[in-house]
Symmetry: C2
Subunit: 109 residues, 2 copies
Amino acid sequence: MARSQRNTAPLRHPDVAELDLLDILHALSDRTRMAIVQRLWEEPERVCGTFPVDVAPSTLSHHFRVLREAGLILQRDEGIRRWSSLRHHDLEARFPGLVGHIVDTFKHQ
Amino acid sequence: MARSQRNTAPLRHPDVAELDLLDILHALSDRTRMAIVQRLWEEPERVCGTFPVDVAPSTLSHHFRVLREAGLILQRDEGIRRWSSLRHHDLEARFPGLVGHIVDTFKHQ
């Protein structure tokens, strides 16, 4: 995504009180999105284009938006790069232990 | 669904080894399906038309199929009635504690 496009659309992040379990489950029910969350579970922050997933850039943008709008990830722009991180603290505050349980289950299934 | 229609399409239930976490999460990411699972979490078995959900019969049939094909519920026909129950044992064997954690989180969110 070009930097100029980014600047016209501010990144929406739901408040912790707005987080909805059904949105979280939907966001995690896709293999690509689960792979992104798994990677972010283990790393504090990562540049969007560097995740080990094999999908078109437009598809990847869609997946990041679903994750962000569900409240799973935080995204911030720095120059031409968009960084993503997991909202560990907010997720723990709202749904104690749940995302970790799901990520761990996926890893071992 | 008419009895004659039912008899032409046998009910498919995935084996426990086939259960996939992403299918389970997708099945649980809908409000109506979550309401069905919550009710079955507390009752051993229930007739399909008696769940406290407000959707059209065809929509309800779709939701039950999603739950059954994901491996969350077992369905059996008895005369003109279709009974549903949760696959507690299989879900515990495959994803220990997970569905209970999700159902409990939804109840308290």
